[in-house]
């Protein structure tokens, strides 16, 4: 168990106020975005984002609901239309067919087949990832391991529709873990979970990053989860307010918590913040 290790040694403690990108990492970045813009309908949801995510790190994507977190994650996974700018994921342009094996994705809505059992759900997704009779034994092992990873072994034969919301999102997490992906994109994976389970999942995330070298991009609107990330991307209104470690962020803003740091950054960037969506809830 390694709770919050401060991530790869790096990034000057007190970066310049405009949060310049970190110094060139030793290996190519897991995600590299330049001038990333996404339009949905007539609305520009992401506005010219620039950021990089280092391999083997846990990056928290934080910000209030509606700030563009999910859109950013969908762009990284390659399911978002109307993406302009540059977005490279694991050395390929986002959405490249070569990436479909290497990215695990947990959507916010628990998109599992409610009329199948947990194991049947995983069996199917495993068969899509590694089809063929020859891989049957390997698939069974991978499914059993993934169910164990998310602590659903006792519910393996329950219908997914009979599970609670939190359990269902863990089924989705197990699906995401199936192919031993190099990048995990998790959209609010811990929402509505009890504190013990939340802690266990964060321990799992840290084990994945440390032992398997998995890169994790995790969104949350719960600011206290920020402390558990190696790096943070603070978002608001489709822009990145800050890209830094939690420590550096607090130090730079002279605040106690990431939440306070967020507030201060919002007030610093826009002198009159709109009253309707102050900070995160």
């Amino acid at each position: 168990m390694m709770n919050y290790e401060p991530g790869p040694p790096s990034a000057g403690p007190t970066g310049p106020p405009d949060a310049s990108p970190p110094p060139a990492p030793p290996s190519p970045p897991a995600i590299e975005a330049r001038d990333l813009t996404v339009v949905r309908g007539t609305r520009t949801v992401l506005r010219a984002l620039d950021f990089t995510v280092r391999p083997g790190s846990i990056t928290g994507l934080l910000g209030p609901s509606g700030c563009g977190k999910t859109t950013l994650m969908r762009a990284v996974v390659g399911t978002q239309a109307k993406v302009t700018g540059t977005l490279d994921v694991l050395g390929h342009p986002a959405g490249d067919p070569a990436l479909r094996h290497r990215i695990g994705y947990v959507t916010q809505a628990p998109s599992v087949y409610t009329d199948l059992t947990v194991r049947q759900n995983l069996d199917y997704f495993a068969a899509v990832l590694h089809p063929g009779r020859a891989h049957r034994a390997a698939r069974r092992d991978a499914v059993t391991r993934a169910i164990g990873d998310v602590d659903l072994t006792s519910h393996a034969d329950a219908l997914a529709g009979a599970l609670s919301g939190g359990q269902r999102s863990r089924v989705l997490l197990a699906v995401a873990l199936l192919g031993t992906p190099a990048l995990l994109v998790l959209d609010e994976p811990t929402v509505g979970l009890d504190p013990v389970l939340r802690r266990d999942l964060w321990d799992l995330f840290h084990r994945l990053a440390a032992d398997r070298g998995t890169t994790l991009l995790i969104s949350s609107h719960v600011m206290d989860e920020a402390e558990r990330c190696h790096r943070l991307l603070l978002m608001r209104d489709g822009r990145i307010l800050a890209d830094d470690t939690p420590d550096a962020l607090r130090r730079r803003t002279g605040t106690e918590t990431v939440e306070d740091a967020f507030l201060q950054l919002v007030e610093a960037t826009s002198p009159t913040p709109p009253p309707d969506q102050e900070a995160s809830r």
Binding site: Q80, G95, A127
Partner: protein, 265 residues
């Protein structure tokens, strides 16, 4: 791979290594769809029993005129699978779209063809059982008088079911809710039902309607059943009917594949 050189994001991502169809992924998808059905025994019961009950009802509605039962009954044996598979498929794929499982699947190395063919395979199998049951009951218990081979009736029924599956898949792309999906049944199926020659011979219709009925696939489905009913051997018209129904099913399945988007707004 030139991993370091950043390349501009491509809007579409088809082509390249991912294949549109892998047999093992297709059968895995068909198996999954059937497994979902096994958790829903009431739907299975409705799928299998309702056509039998309706054809029995028809038999006694036409108690006084067995010839009418022969022609109408044979046509209905082809129309039932079309309608039920249309409904079942449109709702099933709509659920895939709205629950997010479709987006999840298309982010995986699953070909669009795998999904479409998987559904067609699964519901085709259900349709075979459904049509076999209804045909057997009609011929052996209700005295439906067929001159041709009952196997040919089954073949047409299976193709009708595939056409229904294809149409259901296709229209589900245009439905935002179950309410809308169900409304597509009267919109897409009823006009074909009225024009297919079931109620009145197509030659007796207004010429415009007759022309329209000439391009609707259900007209050929009904005519195919009619050919089996009246001819001991495979006729040229039968071959044409089967080819038209199979071709339309394939065409609409391809149209359905186009409506599946890996990237959505």
């Amino acid at each position: 791979m030139t991993a370091t050189a950043p390349t501009p994001t491509r809007p579409a991502n088809e082509a390249a290594p991912a294949r549109p169809l892998t047999p093992s992924r297709t059968t895995a998808t068909a198996g999954r769809v059937l497994r979902q059905l096994t958790h829903d025994p009431r739907t299975i019961a409705l799928l299998l029993i309702v056509p039998v009950l309706l054809i029995t009802l028809l038999r006694y509605v036409f108690d006084g005129s067995p010839e009418t039962f022969d022609s109408t009954g044979a046509s209905l044996l082809g129309i039932f699978p079309l309608i039920t598979m249309f409904l079942v498929t449109s709702i099933a794929t709509l659920r895939e779209r709205t629950s997010g499982t479709l987006e999840r699947l298309l982010a995986l190395p699953l070909g669009k063809g795998d999904l479409i063919a998987g559904y067609a395979l699964a519901f085709g199998a259900v349709a075979v059982v459904q049509a076999a049951l209804a045909t057997a009951v009609s011929i052996w218990l209700l005295g439906l008088d067929v001159i041709g081979s009952p196997w040919l009736l089954l073949l047409v029924a299976l193709l009708d079911a595939l056409l229904g599956t294809a149409l259901g898949l296709f229209v589900s792309a245009f439905a935002a809710s179950e309410f809308q999906a169900v409304q597509f049944m009267p919109a897409v199926i009823f006009p074909q039902l009225l024009l297919c020659g079931l109620f009145t011979p197509r030659e007796a219709m207004h010429p415009v309607l007759e022309a329209i009925s000439n391009v609707l696939p259900m007209s050929y489905a009904v005519d195919g059943m009619d050919q089996v009913l009246h001819h001991p051997d495979i006729t040229g018209d039968f071959v044409r009917d089967v080819a038209v129904v199979a071709g339309s099913a394939l065409l609409v399945l391809c149209l359905g594949a186009i409506t599946l988007r890996r990237r959505t707004p």
